[in-house]
Symmetry: D2
Subunit: 172 residues, 4 copies
Amino acid sequence: MERERRKVVAVIGSGSATEEEPGYQAASIIGRSLVDNGFRVMTGGLHGVMEGAFIGAKSSKRYREGDTIAVLPGIDPDDANMHSDIVIPTGLGIGRNMIVTNADAIIAIGGGSGTLSEIAFSWQKGKTIVALDIPGWSGELGGRALDDRRPDDVVIKAKDPHHAVELMMSEL
Amino acid sequence: MERERRKVVAVIGSGSATEEEPGYQAASIIGRSLVDNGFRVMTGGLHGVMEGAFIGAKSSKRYREGDTIAVLPGIDPDDANMHSDIVIPTGLGIGRNMIVTNADAIIAIGGGSGTLSEIAFSWQKGKTIVALDIPGWSGELGGRALDDRRPDDVVIKAKDPHHAVELMMSEL
Amino acid sequence: MERERRKVVAVIGSGSATEEEPGYQAASIIGRSLVDNGFRVMTGGLHGVMEGAFIGAKSSKRYREGDTIAVLPGIDPDDANMHSDIVIPTGLGIGRNMIVTNADAIIAIGGGSGTLSEIAFSWQKGKTIVALDIPGWSGELGGRALDDRRPDDVVIKAKDPHHAVELMMSEL
Amino acid sequence: MERERRKVVAVIGSGSATEEEPGYQAASIIGRSLVDNGFRVMTGGLHGVMEGAFIGAKSSKRYREGDTIAVLPGIDPDDANMHSDIVIPTGLGIGRNMIVTNADAIIAIGGGSGTLSEIAFSWQKGKTIVALDIPGWSGELGGRALDDRRPDDVVIKAKDPHHAVELMMSEL
């Protein structure tokens, strides 16, 4: 009998996005849609997009405690935003980006240089990456190959949050 | 209103302990007792003590899916034992030991050099460490200070599995 | 009396560039120029641009054994290219990219997703980054800000290898 | 033609040992003897034993600039002690212990929990470990096997600093 592990999708994006910004709202829609579809949601555990994704996850009717996973830069679990169910303090600083990119798939929402490093690591690891077409690195890299190590493969461009989850699911 | 994050306790010990060995059985009792008391259980996600702890956790009446967290050495989530609910592939090899020791508290069960490095890291980070008094590094270090950076503090020695959980809880 | 530590400059770029490619040749010119100017050269220790930079370093009249530093992904020192004087095996895999970006300054030469993650980490850490204007991520990011965390700062675009070293030196 | 890479020996021990303590003096003798015999010396780059080893290295007649390698916890190269020729800032905190243990061989001098984690990692990686027989973890572990993964192997016990280098050399 096969264990059915629930898959984990990382949502990455700017930690400074405010509630009014499209990235934050997109993260919330994506978080909810992921849990609606039986996934867990992993982020870097801080604010902005990371918080939006968790709030969305918790608003799903299928949400169960344990569905939001925060992979923190520091060693203090209390640094996690208050919507984090599972807290993994790493002590690796921005190096935790690397760990986040080991999720089953990655959805990128806008983002600055932290998100850029996460997308680059995900690409190196051969992961499915879906990038929302909004300002920031997700918008810039959607539809592109980052180098030639993944022939015929690209960072998948999604026109809106629901589309992002659909595209990701079609790849897993 | 305060978020009530459920605390995470790391159970560490030999990955090669078989079901017949006392360490495996102790891990199972400890895993169940931890979930009985509202904790989640984190391990390195492989076999031996790591598996025993998760099987125990799942046997608790209070177990909910999401209570067992596997922090893996590699990047393939399928390396986790089949009792792992949450899988965090790190790609850090034996360096993941470091991350495991960022749990809220640590319970050590026997163990070889991997467990020894985890106990040493936990000590450096000021964590509560309870060590079961059985053969292996937990038995050897229980009751001792590893150096003088934690005055009046020791690795707490526990005479049996239930005692280990009680002692840990009295420190948190 | 002040210690005068010689500064270390990381040269990053594609590990698959062949001797005939412009990136390899640029790396060689940059490596020599760096040692001519009293710097040590650090790379990821493998092939392509990493090798070219070390060969260049060794061709400088001011070269002294110890001027080439290889920060390897694995734990086997013999993985380093044969021009590596100092070998630091990390066991961190592609995560060693992070460590390379802690050099005093970074010069990027072309490059794929590995180089991209290195540029992104360097930016997060506030390092001086000079990017050679040739095909690859260095060419694409030269002259740009990666996000708004470094106001008025950009990845510095260099039109040729000598220019890259001059620009880097003017920033240190 | 074979490259002849000079081997690197890590010297590990307490960062708080003062000049008057036997560990500091032993580190100095070992550092000098290592360079006398053509090795480079690697440490965690801070004070105590790490400093003593570098001062000793520099007192060797065969010393050449570049023989002392500091693998730092933080990202600021200026944290290294002033006898560090090559500085590798890692940003990994106490996790850099892991990297230090990838040297060609390890000599342990006294030490607390940091040294203990380094010895445990070195053992897991199959490295030659020589432990000086003085108070601290090196004294306690010399002559012992840390677990059964290295049959017939032990942490090699050395009665004095010169003996430590001789024993290490006989194993490489």
